[in-house]
């Protein structure tokens, strides 16, 4: 049975948890009225993105009253929230939490924290150390946050772990003006990623980006839902707030995978073996040896394979 997925493309207040809690509540209500079964919020949309030193001030632990309130709200409509999570040992994570029927069903901590150019995430956040799909009442899903998806390993793991849809909360800044291109270059790149991943891994891509400006940096919006055939089922406005809803029939995954059984044919052992070998002798070591003019050795035999043949 198809479910209805909504994406709230919002413009939160930077560092104002209470204002954003109210915004979440309003959007969850709107989702309910629109007949949505599942609602996706953007990355850090409960707190704002360029938090810098205010990260600890807006962090939530699993026992925070706000967390309790979010659990309650999920009784009406399951949703993915983007927030700062504080662990028991006081590390702060850029996290996305899936709430369903009054409970936290899954928590993803952003693994790849961009710290280059305009980004400084690793200065303020601790790095997540796992990529896991999880079971929801709609089937098996995965959450990957923004930059996570710029590393192909994360979507690969999510797909092999059984995800039929990947929910991607994002705070993607607009940048790069190109002649003859209706949107900025970051928007183009993301749309290419979403379509390529949806088709390559035969799953739904649910991409929720935010809008608005923080200190002159704009977020390009353009949230979208792409099916496993690469068809765009819904598209939000660029550079503005929006709210989109679309039917998502996860059965399409079966049809696509029947026609192109790419995941069935995927050789996990080969990947693991080669990764083990590469880990033992990273490509950078080879480059350094070449630079020094020393003889390049052949690949070393992996010490042990998890699934030795």
């Amino acid at each position: 049975m198809p479910m209805r997925v909504a994406i709230a493309q919002i413009n939160p207040k930077l560092g104002d948890l209470q204002a954003n809690m109210a915004l979440y509540e309003a959007k969850i209500r709107q989702g309910g009225e629109a007949g949505a079964d599942l609602l996706l919020f953007p990355e850090l949309s409960l707190t704002g993105y360029f938090l810098r030193d205010s990260v600890p001030d807006v962090a939530l632990t699993t026992r925070s009253p706000e967390m309790k309130k979010l659990k309650e709200l999920s009784r009406a409509l399951p949703f993915v929230a983007g927030l700062v999570e504080e662990s028991a040992d006081h590390r702060f994570f850029n996290a996305a939490v899936y709430f369903e029927d009054g409970e936290i069903r899954h928590l993803h901590r952003k693994v790849y924290l961009p710290t280059y150019g305009m980004f400084d995430e690793q200065r303020y956040f601790a790095r997540g150390d796992r990529v896991r799909a999880f079971d929801s009442k709609f089937g098996r899903l995965a959450i990957l946050i923004c930059e996570d998806l710029w590393h192909t390993s994360t979507i690969y793991l999510a797909a092999l772990d059984g995800a039929r849809a990947v929910l991607c909360p994002s705070s993607s800044p607009l940048r790069g003006i190109v002649d003859g291109q209706a949107q900025d270059d970051n928007a183009r790149y993301w749309e290419m990623i979403n379509r390529t991943y949806a088709e390559t891994f035969s799953l739904f891509m649910l991409y929720g980006n935010r809008s608005g400006f923080e200190d002159g940096v704009g977020f390009w919006g353009g949230s979208e839902i792409v099916d496993p055939f690469g068809q765009r089922l819904a598209k939000a406005k660029y550079y503005d707030e929006d709210f989109i809803v679309s039917e998502v029939a996860l059965e399409a995954v079966r049809r696509k995978r029947t026609m192109s059984p790419l995941l069935r044919d995927e050789d996990i052992d080969l990947t693991i073996n080669e990764l083990m070998r590469i880990r033992e002798r990273p490509a950078t070591a080879v480059a350094v040896q070449k630079f020094k003019g020393s003889k390049v050795q052949g690949p070393r035999k992996p010490k042990k394979s998890r699934r030795g043949r």
Binding site: N11, K13, L14, G15, D16, F50, L51, R52, D53, S54, L174, I177, V178, D179, G180, Q181, A182, Q183, D184, G212, F213, E214, D215, G216, G218, Y239, D240
Partner: protein
Amino acid sequence: MIQIPTNTSLLREILTVFIRNEVHKTGLNKVVVGLSGGVDSGLSAMLAAEALGPKNVLAILMPYKNSNPESREHAEMVVLKSGIESLLVDITPQIDAYFERFPDADARRRGNKMARERMTILYDHSARWKALVLGTSNKTELLLGYGTLYGDMASAINPLGDLYKTQVWALAEAIGVPIAIVRKPPSADLWHGQTDEGELGFSYEDVDRLFYLMVDQRYTRPELIAAGFPEHFIDDISARIMTSQFKRRLPVIAKVSQRTIDRDFRYSRDWGK
């Protein structure tokens, strides 16, 4: 030929959304802008008119007695075309009163003084009118340091700070800044016959192409030479960027505490907004 991408319809959309967003989040809905009659302030004012509605934009014309009369005519053309509010404040009395005491001041000191007097007028009217001061400095002059610190460089928000001068020209033309303004040689109008390019010693076309490759595309010196730029030009411009760096930063604070403003006390300007 190096082409700097200048997608005017996209820039127009982004910059109007920027103005609307950054103004409204402060709880205000208006801006004041110093209108010189040049292309930068003309473009800033017209973008603001589109973003906020013309009645929410106050242009202040601040001529000095020996300003080129054409500057004022051009500023009035922008006011007329965009339907924004305007106010004329002749700065002659306050400038002359000051330099009566320091009659030996050269053109540079006088020019900087005028720029800073105009800044104080803009900020005063921004308080009176409950508005933000809209900036007009473009990326070329910010990188060259070709502006007066705490003068024309002062503003609350600046839609043009990431656009090179040649991009400003293209966008100004696309959005309908009167063509006489777009086409005239840029000038700070501090003395008769002054032009930016005459004073700088190179053209905006040339320096913008160099900046685009050097700053945006991160070309190295050998790569810039290979791209056809003379070595002395590359070195001269590189030195200008470095020596004017102070104009693009907050004043230097002596660190004595654990948390010093902007060093380890780091918050976004839009904090809480």
